[in-house]
């Protein structure tokens, strides 16, 4: 039993550089507080973890089913506001504890996702992109118009912390991030024998008419994608509100929606790990550029332009293609510096 586990570990993880890098990354993530406990760095990494969930959920909806969602901040903002309103309690009902507010906030985001999906079922391409763009902006207008409930520009403040210490916050964010990313990765796995959603979502993106002609209820799967993606974006939004202890209109901002897209495309669209890599590179980078805050967004924009012009596939996919090569005969992944396949010893060139 143990020796079989060890063999699988050697064959399926150590032999494939992409997976080895991922494993090292997970271990480092858990060990990180042992190296430094500087509150500023931990705070930055907590935000990074939340935005990883957010970007991966965008990849889940738009990357996999091809439904270009330009208003992903809707889920984030709805969950942040619902969480904050429930937790603050005072004018509207009782005070809810944190373990209840985040799931309810995420469910509110699912409802938002299904509502947003209604036009999405009839529209496609640029029309869909523009309609989804509209939803968070409409909600922002409503929030500014009803200041007695929503606090308007200032938002809802004075809600509970996630936990009492920064390190505990960090571990909670890491675990939630890993669990969410793992669930979404499994749901989109096209080779999975357990769930069919991965391959169906690929089919919907590639050719929706053909998918429908093959007897797939595409509407049901699009709704599913919006609901699941909305749920995880909502989890990120609820945690964001509790960590920052404020939910303001910036959670519905146009720039937040676009950042999810930019992070994902930067890392590599239609690959869950691409979004993780994108956020882990770009978010700490833009945060550390705060020192020269005047040029921060300019540098960000220039990096995005350069990456899109020269690595249109995304940086993670670009690196993966450099270090991994698929065997032409048995389709097994090999390190690119091998000359022959590790299983069937076919020539790799």
């Amino acid at each position: 039993m143990l020796s079989r586990l060890f063999r699988d570990f050697q064959g399926d993880i150590v032999a494939i550089p992409g997976r080895l890098i991922a494993l090292i990354f997970f271990v480092l993530l858990f060990l990180f507080p042992a190296f430094t406990q500087q509150p500023y760095i931990l705070r930055m990494l907590i935000f990074t973890n939340m935005f990883v969930i957010f970007a991966v959920s965008w990849d889940f909806i738009s990357g996999y089913t091809g439904q270009m969602n330009f208003g992903h901040a809707l889920f984030f903002g709805v969950a942040a506001y619902v969480t904050a309103m429930l937790n603050r309690g005072a004018p509207l009902g009782p005070h809810w504890p944190i373990w209840a507010t985040i799931p309810i906030g995420a469910l509110a985001a699912v409802v938002a996702g299904v509502i947003m999906c209604l036009p999405a079922l009839r529209l496609r391409g640029p029309y869909l992109a523009l309609v989804t763009l509209a939803f968070p902006l409409i909600l922002t207008g409503i929030i500014f118009a009803n200041t007695q409930f929503t606090g308007g520009e200032l938002g809802i403040s004075g809600i509970d912390r996630i936990s009492d210490s920064r390190v505990a916050d960090y571990y909670i964010s890491v675990v939630v991030m890993l669990v969410s990313v793992f669930i979404m990765w499994k749901l989109t796995d096209a080779q999975s024998g357990l769930v069919r959603t991965g391959i169906i979502m690929h089919a919907i993106r590639e050719d929706e008419i053909a998918a429908r002609a093959s007897g797939i209820n595409t509407i049901r799967y699009k709704l599913f994608a919006f609901a699941v993606g909305g749920f995880f974006a909502g989890v990120a939004g609820g945690m964001y509100a509790h960590f920052l202890r404020i939910a303001g209109p910036s959670t519905l901002d146009l720039t937040l929606s676009f950042q999810a897209i930019i992070w994902t495309v930067f890392g590599g669209i239609v690959s869950i790990y691409g979004a993780v890599v994108g956020v882990y590179i770009l978010y700490p980078l833009t945060e550390s550029l705060r020192v020269i805050s005047e040029y921060r967004m300019l540098i960000f924009a220039v990096i995005v332009i350069l990456i899109l012009l020269f690595m249109p596939e995304g940086i993670a996919v670009w690196i993966r293609d450099k270090i991994e090569r698929q065997c032409p005969r048995c389709k097994l992944t090999n390190v690119s510096w091998r000359h022959t396949c590790r299983a069937c010893s076919a020539d790799l060139y």
Binding site: R124, F144, A145, L254, F258, Y295, F300
Partner: protein, 292 residues
């Protein structure tokens, strides 16, 4: 009040029409969403401020209008050649690159002019009283200028060989190419026309607005709503959609107490409702291969 609503609708509608028309032309011909469109509007407005304001160069108004339009058009063409042309086939990449370009321009303006609110000098101070409403000369100038430009563009599209080539490319790029139309030249020309239209809009409204580097986002959202409402790529639809949404915006501002916050929300709501019942917009054409 009704007179005020009519005047405001006409003024705002004509500005939106100029912006949406350029956007629709690009989408019609190249089938890409060029999201840095309103950045050119902002650049031209800042151009007027820089050239005409006595704090900086203090040139005479006509010269500064011409300079801002020409320079902005040049920047638009450079953006097209450097960024859009290479990735034209990948629609999402074009959206993201043009968005990043818009952000970059907004940040560059923030660095050059700082974030403080500025205003450009009016070309024609003073006002007329029409039906008891005070209408600033600048507003009349906006309406007339936009009207003249729209008629010129319409004549260009309908009556000239270039216009026929543009419409042919919009209908079917491959066939147009086979008929001997140089598609990449047409795309370049259309990009120039669109940037010039955005620049004209920016120049016309600059004196009536408060200039800030983030001034490109409110019209950005409105233009998106207008062209979706009118039908992507439809020239007629974009002009009519501009006036419809301008009317909605002005009505909300006049009639609701918190209207200033809700004007964008209502305009977008109109767009969503229209799209639910007519997914291709009011005047959109559905291509067979794009149909769901």
């Amino acid at each position: 009040m009704i007179e005020g609503i009519i005047v405001q609708t006409l003024v705002r509608g004509s500005v939106y029409a100029l912006l949406a028309l350029g956007f629709a032309l690009i989408f019609g011909v190249a089938r890409v969403l060029q999201l840095s469109h309103t950045a050119f509007y902002m650049l031209a407005a800042y151009g007027i401020f820089y050239f005409a304001d006595t704090q900086f160069l203090g040139l005479n108004p006509v010269l500064s209008i011409v300079l801002s339009i020409v320079i902005t058009t040049g920047i638009g063409l450079a953006v097209y050649k450097l960024f859009i042309d290479r990735v034209r086939e990948h629609h999402v990449t074009v959206m993201l690159i043009t968005l990043a370009v818009a952000m970059a321009f907004s940040e560059i303006m923030l660095i050059i002019f700082s974030g403080q609110y500025r205003s450009a000098p009016a070309f024609l101070p003073g006002y007329w009283e029409i039906l008891g409403v005070k209408v600033a000369f600048q507003n009349i100038l906006i309406f007339l200028g936009a009207g003249i430009v729209l008629v010129i563009v319409w004549l260009l599209l309908e009556k000239t060989r270039l216009g026929i080539a543009i419409r042919a490319t919009a209908q079917d790029t491959e066939i147009a190419n086979l008929m001997g139309i140089n598609v990449s030249t047409i795309l370049f020309t259309v990009m120039g026309i669109a940037a010039a239209l955005a620049a004209i809009a920016g120049v016309l409204v600059a004196p009536t607005l408060i200039l800030s580097p983030s001034m490109l986002w409110p019209p950005f959202v409105m233009v998106m709503a207008i062209i979706t409402l009118g039908g992507l790529g439809s020239v007629k639809g974009s002009v009519i959609g501009a006036f419809i949404l301008a009317l909605v915006e002005v009505l909300v501002v006049y009639l609701l107490p918190t209207g200033a916050f809700l004007k964008g929300a209502f305009a977008l709501l109109v767009m969503v409702i229209v799209l639910i019942f007519r997914p291709e917009g009011l005047f959109g054409i559905v291509f067979e291969e794009e149909r769901l």
